[in-house]
Amino acid sequence: MYKKNECVAMLLAGGQGSRLGVLTKYIAKPAVPYGGKYRIIDFPLSNCVNSGIYTVGVLTQYQPLELNDYIGNGQPWDLDRMSGGVHMLSPYQQIKGSEWYKGTANAIYQNINFIDRYDPEYVIILSGDHIYKMDYSKMLAFHKEKKADCTIAMLEVPWDEASRFGLMLVNDDGAITEFEEKPKNPRSNKASMGVYTFTWSKLKEYLLADEATQGSSNDFGKDLIPSMHKNGERLFAYPFDGYWKDVGTIDSLWEANLDLLNPKVDLDLSDNSWRIFSNSPAAPPHYISADADVQNSMIAGGCEIEGQVDFSVLFANVKVEKNAVIRDSIVMPGTVIKAGAVVQYAIVAENAVVEENAVIGERPEAMENLADWGVAVVGSGVRIGRGAKVPPTAMIDSDIEGAE
């Protein structure tokens, strides 16, 4: 017998995140490191526990090893519970055969049994690729107040960016009247954040119907929600006001990290009332040597800094040797930047080694043609040889010989 839960959260974490290239070669997107000591999934998980939701199903499919290992029994997020807690849900074999999660809705469909165990009134669907702090309990209260069948969290985005998002037209009481998926000429700037609250009985009904529909792509945004809308179910938009960022691309991941250094950005990780929990290794405090020069940066435990660090985010146990320069960059755990190397406008993944005098990335000012400029990426475990150069926008996933 399982204890009844009012609300269960389902976290979609199976995506490959192919636009992150080498960063997601061996790990799923939600496991990508972010913000010096976190991984992307820490945000939705911490939001859940801070919102009082202690039953979370994490749907995994692509490269789950690292993610499974990271989540473990959920203890770092207080999700090791007597009843509920965090559950890793991978596709499994059934009597009628086995299939992968075909789409976001199908992933939930295949886990109807998991949800039914807790007999919830409501289910919250989250995705593992957004950075934001949100109180889901407020959204749930809104959902109840509106007697909605489905509530979609909505963010007002700048008009000139609106065409990149799935948009909603909303009337005065918050009811959604129309959807627009990445339109050329947006009529609304109210974007969906990919956070949904459903009344479980309704969602289950539509999941079953969607599964039976020939040709459906089994996706929440493309199939299930439009179908609910068509049938006149009560769809509402819950306005969210705060920092929210989709970190699905290299540029947005880079930006989202550096946002932490911008005091104007509304994402305070030092707020004790809404802490972001993470599974962090035992590392001593970091050390800044007498030769180092650190400005406007975020530095995690275990780092040894002897070089220059400017406007960058350094994860745990990064070593920066003398006369090395890191600016406008993200350096993930365990990476070594040797003497005289320059890392600029770049993301260097875990346990990479950048040998002496190598240069990674380029400053936009130094480009002849700005259109060719972009963030350079070095994959995990890669060794960049002495004096080698990694051009902007490059994605390096194997060792590069030295140029000296």
Binding site: G35, K37, S270, S280, A282, Y287, S289, A290
Partner: protein, 372 residues
């Protein structure tokens, strides 16, 4: 020797009075150290890193902060069904008077735990010794010499603590003579107060001593038995520094700014574990100037900091100049302050514009939560 046949005992109140500034409101074991640790983390981590999975923590007084820090023992992987961590507070029963006055009383009060444990051997540690030692080697040495008791020692100037034991050893390593000092001694082999022995021997020695109203562990259990028991010294590789007062606390903290010392204490092979706080990584503001510092998570630094140890969540405001200081967790150093050779306890506040200055051989101490 198999480490799963050994249990640990840690004194959390060892030499509290030597560091009265920091132990006024807490135990020696819960004194903050090295940016994010408490002193007891070192003894516990050394034990678990060699595979010991049963540890008793002997407490005497002021142990609220210690309980808060240790919790269920989870950070040291000591929250277990089989074995784990046991907190041993003073035991009031007929024949014993509650709060312990010395090591023998403390051990006697903990006899219930000691005799109940299934392990054959025991390692006993103090918490004022900051160390990262390979306890496996210590256990092996105990096995190989066939000693009844093995005591880890170090060569150098003995700490100025009560009953600090110094040894003379013969070629085999056996201790042939032991002396007790109160005011330190120069160039000697002094005890690190890390003992290995059979559990049965410990029980016998305690019961004997209590029966004869003897109450001095070093004098009555070790020194008195130098001839009758095979007591061996063991000189471990690795760091071991004993805190004997605020000055040595300051000096040993500052030694961490040297990479040789730091890397010896924080080796990746034997990590030092501590309670997690889920602070964000440290943020350095534009115009901050930090040189030769150890900085923990959660700090926000906008001022100038040189030769300092900053604990978790310390704020250094713009225009502040902090040098040669130890700033403990949650302290706030206001704008345009100047600090030199200062130790602030937790949550101290130095208001804007204030100046505090001590000397390297006389650091100024600012108590917990004090606002200046």
């Amino acid at each position: 020797m198999r480490a799963n046949n050994v249990f640990g005992l840690v004194y959390s109140n060892s030499y509290d009075s030597a560091l009265s500034e920091l132990t006024n409101l807490r135990t020696m074991g819960s004194v903050p150290f090295g940016g994010r640790y408490r002193l007891i983390d070192f003894a516990l981590s050394n034990m678990v890193n060699c595979g010991i999975s049963t540890v008793g923590v002997i407490t005497k007084s002021n142990y609220r902060s210690l309980m808060d820090h240790l919790g269920t023992g989870k950070p040291w992987d000591l929250s277990r069904k089989r074995a784990g961590m046991f907190i041993l507070p003073p035991f009031l029963s007929a024949g014993s008077g509650g709060v312990y006055h010395n090591r023998i009383e403390a051990l006697h009060g903990s006899l219930g735990f000691i005799s109940r444990s299934n392990e054959e051997y025991v390692v006993i540690c103090d918490s004022n010794v900051i160390c990262n030692l390979d306890f496996d080697k210590l256990l092996d040495a105990h096995d190989q010499t066939g000693a009844d008791i093995t005591i880890a020692y170090k060569h150098g100037n003995a700490p100025k603590l009560n009953d600090m034991m110094t040894f003379t050893t013969d070629d085999s390593g056996r201790i042939t003579a032991a002396a007790l000092h109160q005011h330190g001694a120069i160039d000697v082999d002094y005890s690190l107060n890390i003992y290995v022995m059979r559990k049965a021997l410990l029980e016998r020695l305690i019961n004997e001593a209590v029966g004869l109203s003897r109450n001095d562990f070093e004098q009555d259990i070790i020194r008195r038995n130098v001839d009758s028991l095979k007591i061996f010294g063991y000189k471990p590789q690795g760091v071991a520094r004993t805190i004997d007062g605020l000055q040595s606390y300051y000096d040993i903290s500052m030694e961490l700014l040297n990479s040789v010392n730091r890397n010896a204490l924080f080796t990746p092979e034997r990590p030092i574990y501590t309670k997690l706080r889920d602070d964000m990584p440290a943020i350095y503001g534009l115009g901050s100037n930090v040189k030769n510092c150890l900085v923990a998570d959660g700090c926000i630094i906008d001022g100038e900091v040189e030769n300092c140890v900053l604990f978790r969540r310390v704020r250094i405001a713009k225009g502040a100049k902090v040098k040669n200081s130890i700033i403990m967790q949650d302290s706030f150093i206001g704008e345009n302050t100047e600090l030199n050779c200062v130790i602030t306890d937790k949550s101290a506040v130095i208001k804007p514009g204030k100046t505090l200055s001590g000397a390297e051989n006389f650091p100024v101490f600012v108590g917990k939560g004090i606002v200046i």
